[in-house]
């Protein structure tokens, strides 16, 4: 089983971490009791740095890849992990059976909407797309370049485009409950498929922009996504066990706010917590960031709707 700390040897962050531990040990040599303490701290740190070893199979049939080799464009990781691997056994258990997964209530609500005609064209999603199963695979490749529109689209943008231009219905608010439920439905039929967003060709400039945002240290606390999710995944920040901040599990049902959360809701919360002025859900910045973050998870299974704390 891969050991992130060891497998990360070449990353600058791992080196920083290692040299920090070294200096603690050096200082510790002053006193024997301190050596014991430092050793214990280092060991505890190492143990905590590991995502756990659990495997996820949903409903006894959908195998979820929660750990795999990092894609070549992810510079500082050898191995990528789903956020599921960093959660407690109790939280993890919610995902093992759909009957226990509160996120599936949103999927059920969206099933009704899927078959309901709306708008001036009097059409439902089902009229054009058939069963939701027909959408299997879409979640895995979004955000995706749309040639006709000349833009990178998230699933939310695509759904709203169908509503506005094909159904003659009103667009949903980007992170409205109904929208997130629909995205949960679309994700649920792709579960087990590998995330595989395209980052080259016309999507590349958007991807580059997302990457720049990922490494920008925002807010008065001056923290970038990478500070927490790249340099410190596996560590504790107060009560939170930091994951790699992957998006394969979205939408996520959070026990904290007892609802399904969209990717952009999560981005907003993470930036807000750096005492920064955030971007808005649906903004070009968050679309670019979503493409970049999703690409860091290429190879992990689509897992949404997942359960997190």
């Amino acid at each position: 089983m891969a050991q992130p700390i060891l497998s990360q040897k070449t990353s600058p962050s791992a080196e920083r971490r290692a040299s920090r531990e070294e200096s603690v040990i050096k200082l510790a040599s002053k006193s024997a009791s301190y050596i014991a303490l430092a050793a214990a701290t280092v060991l505890a740190g190492a143990a905590m740095a590991d995502p756990d070893e659990d495997q996820l199979v949903i409903n006894g049939e959908i195998e979820i890849v929660t750990e795999t080799k990092a894609p070549a464009h992810v510079e500082n990781f050898d191995t990528i992990y789903s956020g599921w691997r960093f959660r407690s056994d109790e939280t993890q258990a919610f995902e093992i059976d759909d009957f226990d997964n509160p996120g599936m209530l949103g999927v059920e609500a969206a099933l009704d909407v899927w078959a309901t005609a709306e708008g001036s064209e009097g059409k439902s999603c089902a009229d054009c797309h058939g069963e939701p199963d027909e959408m299997a695979g879409a979640r895995a490749v979004y955000p995706k370049w749309n040639e006709e529109a000349g833009e990178v689209r998230t699933l939310e943008m695509q759904v709203n485009d169908c509503r506005e231009t094909r159904m003659g219905a009103e667009a949903w608010k980007y992170n409205a409950r109904g929208m997130t439920d629909m995205v949960a439905l679309l994700s649920s039929v792709s579960r087990g498929m590998p995330m595989n967003v395209a980052i080259d060709g016309p999507a590349q400039s958007t991807w580059e922009k997302g990457k720049e945002i990922y490494y920008t240290r925002y807010g008065q606390l001056e923290l970038s996504c990478a500070n927490c999710h790249e340099d410190n995944y596996g560590n504790m920040i107060r009560a939170d066990h930091l994951s790699q901040g992957q998006t394969n599990g979205f939408p996520t049902y959070r026990l904290k706010n007892t609802k399904l959360n969209s990717v952009h809701d999560r981005f907003k919360g993470c930036i807000r917590d750096t005492r920064a002025h955030t971007y808005a859900p649906g903004s070009p910045e968050f679309v670019a960031l979503e493409l970049y973050v999703a690409s860091r998870g290429n190879g992990l299974s689509v897992e949404g709707p997942s359960v997190r704390n």
């Binding site: 920090r20 740190g45 807010g219």
Partner: protein, 156 residues
Amino acid sequence: MKKTLGLASVVVACASLASAEAVAPTDVTYEEGAVTTSLSGTPGNPENGAKLMDKGVGNCIACHEVSALSHLAFQGNVGPSLDGAADRWSEAELRGLVANAKMTFEGTMMPSFYRTEGFIRPGNGYTGKPVEGDVQPLLSAQDVEDVVSFLMTLKD
């Protein structure tokens, strides 16, 4: 009447004296990361310093373990344990670390607690909205002195 007036002007004089002595965040002098002079001119209170280590603006234990504060649950490990910090660092070095750790550790993840400039999209606290007016430092001059005086008690 005369008496009261006199008292009031004494109070005013004291207040302006105190604020004259506080070093503004933009005027702090760092020598290899260390800050020799007190930021507030008033000795720190370690008990209040211990409180600032917990949640709120300080929230040092979000990233650091401190055995002396073991009654506080969920101490993080993004940074090193602060046990024995006073054995490793002088008071001036600790003051510099708390005020702006980036002067000691280049590019460190530790926030700068007594700095007001150079931020990207600074927010209005944790509201996600843009800051209104000038950015206030995360800790006041006296808060920094209080935290430093607490750190000075962390000896093995």
